[in-house]
C-alpha cells in the first residue's frame, strides 16, 4: 500500500513541477513579447512623429509664404528618399486641389488634380476646424495597396490655406520601419477598422498562437490595430533537458519503488510458506509413529521426538545430553548395544537397519528396528547420526498371526474336495492351487499358464475373460461364469464356477472352483431314464383318455355313412329314386368314410411307439398336428383355438412325439380348465416365438379358473392334481420331458383371467 501511495504522490509532484516550469517559461516569453512589441510601437511612433514634424515645418514655411514650389519639391524628394515608408507628399490648397505633389516612384498624382479617395477628402474636411494634424482612415491605393495619409493644416492666422499631406503605405511601414530582428522573431500584422487585414510581414515560420499580443496603433488610430505573434522557436535541447531529466529520474524511481514492492511481497510470501512449512514439519514430527533420536559424533543425544519419548517412556530432558549407556538400553544386551553404537559412530551402518531390544522406563522390553542415517549440518559437515526407531512388537505378532491364519486357510482349502485355483487375469498364470487341484493336474501347477494346465477341463475363456479384465477391485467379488464339464483326464464331471476376486496384493484375479458332480450327474441320468419309462406309461394313459374322444368323433362320419346308406336302401326298396340322387348320396358316404379313415390314421400315428429321437423339428408342425388331434375335444367343449407362430422360427432340437405329447397335454389342460368359463370367453391361444437366439418359447394361454400362486409350484409335482379323475402325472411328465430337452416349463397367470403355461426348447444348432 505504502509503496503504491509513494509512487502516486511522486508522479503527481513531478507532473506539477514540470507544469510549473512550463508556466514560468511561458510567462517569461509573454513578458519578452510585450516588451518587444512596446519597443516596436515606440519606434514606429517616433518615425511617425518625425514625419509629422517634417510636414509641420513645411506647413509653417508655406504659411509664411517662404515656401516656393521648387523648395517644396526639393525637400519632399529628399525626405521621401530617406523615408521609403512614405509613398508621396502633396501640397493641397484650401480648394482641395493638389498644388504640388512629389512621389517616391513614378508619379501618378498630377498636380492640380482632385483628391482621389473619399478617405482623403474626409480627412481634409476634418482639418478645417482643427489646428493639429489628422490621420485618414486606411484605404486601398491603386499602386501601393493599403495606405493612409497624414494631413497637416497650413494656416496663416485664422485662415485655412490648405494642407501638407504624406501618404504611408502599410507595407512600407512594416517593411522599413520595423527592425529586421523583430521581423525574424515575430509575425506582425496590421488590421484596419472592422478587423480586415491590411498587411503583414512575410510568413516565414509557423506561429505560436499562445504567444500573441495586440494593441491599438495610434497614431494613426482610426481603429488600426497591431497584432504580434511569436514564431514557434525550435525547441532547444538545452531547454528541454531538465524536463527530460526529471522524467527519466522519475521513471527510475518508480521502477525501483515497484521492484521494492515486489521484493517485499515475495519476502512476505516466503515467510508465510516458511511458517506453514515449519508448522507442517512440527505436526509431522508429532504425529509420526516413528521415534527419532539424534546423537552427535561423540554419542551424546542431541534430539528426541515425541514418538521416541512415548516409546521409551522417558521425558525429552531426561534423554537429551545423555551419553552411552543410554537409559533405554536393556541391561542384559548392554554389551551388544555398545558394540552397535561403536560401529555406528565408525560409520558402519547396515542398510536394512538393526533389530534390537529396548527397555521402557517402566521396565518392559520391546523389539525395535533402528535405521541410522548421517546428520549433516548446513556447511555439509557430518554433525552426528539420526536414528529412526520402529516398535516392531505389534508387527511381529501380526506377522505370526497372519502366518497362522494362512496356515489354517491352506488347511481348509486343501481339505476341500473341490479343486480351486487362482490365476492372474493378465498373464493367466496360476497364483495359487489347492491340494485337490494339484491332485488332478500335478503339483507343479503354480506359476504355469492356467489354460495349458487345465486343458482337459476348462470353460471357453472367451466367454468371460475379456469382461473380467475390465473389472476394478471394488467390483469384486463377482461371479463370472458357470459351466458343467467332463474332465478328459479322469472322466469325472465338474461344476466349474469362475469368480473374480481381489487377490492379497490388491489386483483383481480369477478364481475357479471345480466341484466334482460326477455322482449327481449319474443320478440325473438315472432319473431321466426313469422318467422316460414313466412317460411311456403316461402316453398310454393319455391314449386311453383320447380313445373315448376318438370314439365320439368317429361316430360322426359313421352315422352319416349309415344314414346315406339306409336312405339309398329305402329308396331302392320303394323303387322310388332317381339314379343321380343315389349317386350323390353314395359319393357323400364315401367322403365320410375317408374322414373316418383320417381320424384312425391320426390315432395310429400317435400310438406308434418310439424311442426319444431328437432332431430338428418345426414347432409349427408340432402345433398343427396336436391341434388336428385336439380340435375334436376343443369343439366338444366349445373352445375356440387361436394359433400364432412367429414367421421364420428356427427348428427346435427335440423329439417330435415327446413335444407333441407336452403340447397336447397343455392344450387338454387348458380346455378342461375352461369348463366353467362362459362359452363366449372360451378361448385357447397357442403362441410360438423365439426366446433369445438359442431358444424357442411356446405359450398355451387359457381363460380358465387360473392357478393360485401357492399351487403353481405344486402343479409340477407327481400325483398333484386339480382334476377329479386326474392322476397328477401330466404336468410332472411334461416338465421332465422339457427338462430332458434342456428347456424349461413354467406357468404364470394370464392377464385378464386364466393361466399361461410356457416352455422353451433349444434351437437346433446342428
Amino acid at each position: 500500500m505504502m509503496p503504491n501511495a509513494a509512487v502516486g504522490v511522486f508522479i503527481v509532484s513531478m507532473i506539477v513541477l514540470v507544469w510549473l516550469l512550463q508556466t514560468r517559461e511561458f510567462d517569461q516569453q509573454m513578458a519578452a513579447l510585450a516588451r518587444d512589441v512596446q519597443w516596436a510601437e515606440q519606434t514606429l511612433r517616433l518615425h511617425l512623429q518625425g514625419d509629422r514634424e517634417f510636414l509641420q515645418e513645411l506647413a509653417h514655411e508655406a504659411s509664411d509664404g517662404q515656401l516656393a514650389s521648387a523648395r517644396f519639391k526639393d525637400r519632399s524628394a529628399q525626405y521621401l528618399a530617406i523615408n521609403p515608408h512614405l509613398s508621396r507628399i502633396d501640397w493641397i490648397d484650401a480648394d482641395k486641389s493638389i498644388r504640388e505633389a512629389v512621389t517616391a516612384a513614378s508619379a501618378v498624382h498630377e498636380a492640380g488634380g482632385p483628391l482621389a479617395h473619399p478617405e482623403q477628402l474626409e480627412g481634409f474636411l476634418a482639418l478645417h476646424g482643427l489646428d493639429r494634424p489628422v490621420y485618414t482612415k486606411a484605404y486601398s491605393s491603386s499602386h501601393f495597396g493599403p495606405s493612409f495619409e497624414i494631413l497637416v493644416p497650413v494656416r496663416r492666422g485664422p485662415d485655412f490655406m490648405g494642407a501638407m499631406v504624406a501618404e504611408y503605405t502599410v507595407s512600407g511601414i512594416l517593411g522599413y520601419l520595423v527592425p529586421a530582428w523583430f521581423s525574424e522573431k515575430y509575425h506582425l500584422a496590421l488590421s484596419g477598422e472592422g478587423g480586415q487585414l491590411l498587411a503583414q510581414n512575410a510568413v516565414a515560420h509557423p506561429r505560436n498562437e499562445d504567444l500573441d499580443y495586440s494593441l491599438d496603433f495610434d497614431p494613426p488610430g482610426n481603429g488600426v490595430q497591431m497584432h504580434v505573434t511569436a514564431y514557434r522557436t525550435d525547441t532547444s535541447f538545452a531547454k528541454e533537458l531538465p524536463i527530460l531529466l526529471i522524467a527519466g529520474l522519475s521513471l527510475l524511481v518508480v521502477w525501483s519503488l515497484w521492484s521494492l514492492r515486489n521484493n517485499l511481497a515475495r519476502r512476505i510470501r516466503a515467510e508465510d510458506a516458511l511458517r506453514a512449512e515449519s508448522h507442517f514439519r512440527k505436526a509431522m514430527e508429532e504425529s509420526m509413529p516413528t521415534g527419532m533420536c539424534a546423537i552427535d559424533m561423540h554419542g551424546h543425544i542431541t534430539y528426541v521426538n515425541a514418538a521416541f519419548c512415548n516409546m521409551v517412556g522417558y521425558a525429552p530432558q531426561e534423554l537429551i545430553g545423555a551419553a552411552a549407556p543410554y537409559p533405554y538400553w536393556s541391561p542384559e544386551d548392554q554389551a551388544q548395544h555398545a558394540r552397535t553404537l561403536q560401529r555406528t559412530l565408525a560409520g558402519e551402518v547396515p542398510r536394512g537397519g538393526i533389530e534390537s531390544r529396548l527397555r521402557r522406563k517402566s521396565g518392559g522390553l520391546f523389539d525395535a528396528r533402528i535405521y541410522e542415517a548421517p546428520l549433516v549440518d548446513a556447511s555439509g559437515r557430518q554433525a552426528g547420526w539420526m536414528a529412526s526407531v520402529h516398535d516392531i512388537t505389534e508387527q511381529r505378532r501380526a506377522r505370526a498371526e497372519l502366518e497362522a491364519s494362512h496356515q489354517r486357510f491352506m488347511t481348509v482349502l486343501d481339505g476341500l474336495d473341490a479343486a480351486i485355483y487362482v490365476a492372474s487375469l493378465d498373464a493367466d498364470e496360476i497364483l495359487f492351487a489347492n491340494k485337490a487341484f494339484k491332485n488332478i493336474y500335478g503339483y507343479d501347477a503354480v506359476g504355469r499358464n492356467c489354460w495349458q494346465v487345465t486343458s482337459a477341463c476348462h470353460p471357453d475363456p472367451a466367454r468371460f475373460i475379456a469382461a473380467a479384465r475390465q473389472l476394478a477391485p471394488h467390483q469384486t467379488p463377482l461371479e463370472l461364469h458357470e459351466a458343467e464339464l467332463q474332465n478328459g483326464l479322469n472322466g469325472h464331471w465338474y461344476q466349474l464356477r469362475e469368480r473374480a476376486i481381489q487377490w492379497v496384493d490388491g489386483r483383481v484375479v480369477r478364481m475357479e472352483i471345480a466341484t466334482d458332480i460326477t455322482d449327481r450327474m449319474k443320478m440325473q441320468e438315472l432319473n431321466s431314464q426313469q422318467l422316460e419309462r414313466l412317460q411311456q406309461t403316461s402316453r398310454l394313459i393319455t391314449m386311453g383318455e383320447m380313445a373315448s374322444s376318438l370314439a365320439h368323433e368317429l361316430n360322426q362320419p359313421l352315422s352319416a355313412i349309415a344314414n346315406y346308406n339306409m336312405g339309398c336302401v329305402n329308396r331302392l326298396q320303394a323303387k322310388d329314386f332317381r339314379p343321380e340322387e343315389l349317386l350323390a348320396a353314395m359319393q357323400k358316404a364315401s367322403v365320410q368314410a375317408e374322414r373316418a379313415g383320417k381320424i384312425i390314421r391320426r390315432v395310429r400315428d400317435f400310438v406308434k411307439k418310439s424311442e426319444p429321437n431328437r432332431g430338428p423339428v418345426q414347432i409349427a408342425e408340432i402345433i398343427e398336428e396336436v391341434i388336428g388331434f385336439a380340435e375334436i375335444e376343443a369343439r366338444k367343449a366349445g373352445v375356440r383355438v387361436s394359433i400364432s407362430i412367429s414367421p421364420e422360427l428356427p427348428a427346435a432340437f427335440a423329439d417330435k412325439l415327446m413335444i407333441e405329447q407336452v403340447v397336447l397335454n397343455l392344450v387338454k389342460n387348458g380346455i378342461e380348465a375352461m369348463h366353467d368359463t362362459p362359452r363366449k370367453a372360451r378361448e385357447l391361444a397357442i403362441r410360438a416365438r423365439a426366446n433369445g437366439k438359442d431358444f424357442i418359447e411356446v405359450n398355451v394361454a387359457d381363460r380358465g379358473h387360473g392357478v393360485l400362486v401357492e399351487t403353481a409350484e405344486k402343479l409340477f409335482t407327481p400325483f398333484y392334481t386339480t382334476k377329479p379323475e386326474g392322476m397328477g402325472m401330466g404336468l410332472n411328465i411334461c416338465r421332465s420331458i422339457i427338462e430332458f430337452h434342456h428347456g424349461r416349463l413354467w406357468t404364470v397367470a394370464n392377464p385378464g383371467g386364466g393361466s399361461v403355461f410356457s416352455f422353451t426348447l433349444p434351437v437346433n444348432s446342428l
Binding site: 365320439h552 352315422s559 352319416a560 349309415a562 344314414n563 346315406y564 336312405g567 339309398c568 329305402n570 365320410q592
Partner: protein, 201 residues
C-alpha cells in the same frame, strides 16, 4: 297352421345332410338348421312336427336350445341325438321334458319309430288344443245369466235350487239351460259338464 315337419339341428354338415336323405326316403318332410341360433331365428309357435337335436354343438348346445324353447312355451316334441358317453346329459334332458334320446350311431328304424311317435303325439296335442280352443269360443257366446246358470249346473245344483239362488222362476231356468246346451253343442248334461271343465282345466 303349418305342415308337420322333422326339424333337424346339427352342426355337422354330413350328419344333417345324411339324416335328411334318410328321413326323406321314408316320406317325411325335413327342415335343416346348422345351429341352435339358426333354428331360433326361424322358429314360431305354429311349428308342427318334431325337433331332432344334437346334444353337443359349438355355441348353443342342444340342452340350451331346449330350455330356450320351453321358455317360449313350445310344445314341439324333442329327440336328442347323443354321442358315446353323453348319457347323463340325455337323462337330464329327459327330466326337462324331452321326448326321447337316441345314441349315435343309430339304427334307422329306431330313429324312424321315435320320429313317428313324436309326430303323432304332436298331432294329438294339436287336436286337443284345437278342441279346447273351440269350447272357449262357445263359452264366449253365452250371456252373463247363461254363464251363471252353467256354473250352478256344473256345481250339480237342481233347477229349483238354481231358480232360488238366482231369484228367477224355474221356467226361466229351464229356458236358459236349453240355450246353454244348444250354444255349447252338448247333447247331455254330462257332456256339458265335461266341456265346461275342460275349458277351465
Amino acid at each position: 297352421m303349418t305342415e308337420p315337419k322333422v326339424h333337424i339341428v346339427d352342426d355337422d354338415e354330413a350328419m344333417r345332410d345324411s339324416l335328411k336323405w334318410l328321413l326323406e326316403s321314408h316320406g317325411l318332410e325335413v327342415e335343416l338348421y346348422a345351429s341352435g341360433d339358426a333354428f331360433l331365428a326361424a322358429f314360431n309357435s305354429n311349428f308342427r312336427g318334431c325337433l331332432v337335436l344334437d346334444v353337443r354343438m359349438p355355441g348353443m348346445n342342444g340342452l340350451d336350445l331346449h330350455s330356450q324353447l320351453q321358455a317360449r312355451h313350445s310344445t314341439l316334441p324333442v329327440i336328442f341325438i347323443t354321442g358315446h358317453g353323453d348319457v347323463p346329459m340325455a337323462v337330464s334332458a329327459l327330466k326337462k321334458g324331452a321326448v326321447d334320446f337316441i345314441e349315435k350311431p343309430f339304427n334307422d328304424l329306431d330313429m324312424l319309430r321315435l320320429i313317428q311317435s313324436c309326430l303323432s303325439q304332436d298331432s294329438a296335442a294339436a287336436a286337443a288344443r284345437a278342441e279346447s280352443e273351440s269350447v272357449a269360443q262357445r263359452l264366449q257366446r253365452l250371456t252373463q245369466r247363461e254363464r251363471e246358470v252353467l256354473a250352478l249346473i256344473v256345481a250339480g245344483k237342481l233347477n229349483k235350487q238354481i231358480a232360488d239362488e238366482l231369484g228367477i222362476s224355474i221356467k226361466t231356468v229351464e229356458v236358459h239351460r236349453s240355450r246353454v246346451m244348444e250354444k255349447m253343442g252338448a247333447n247331455s248334461v254330462a257332456e256339458l259338464v265335461q266341456l265346461a271343465l275342460r275349458s277351465h282345466g
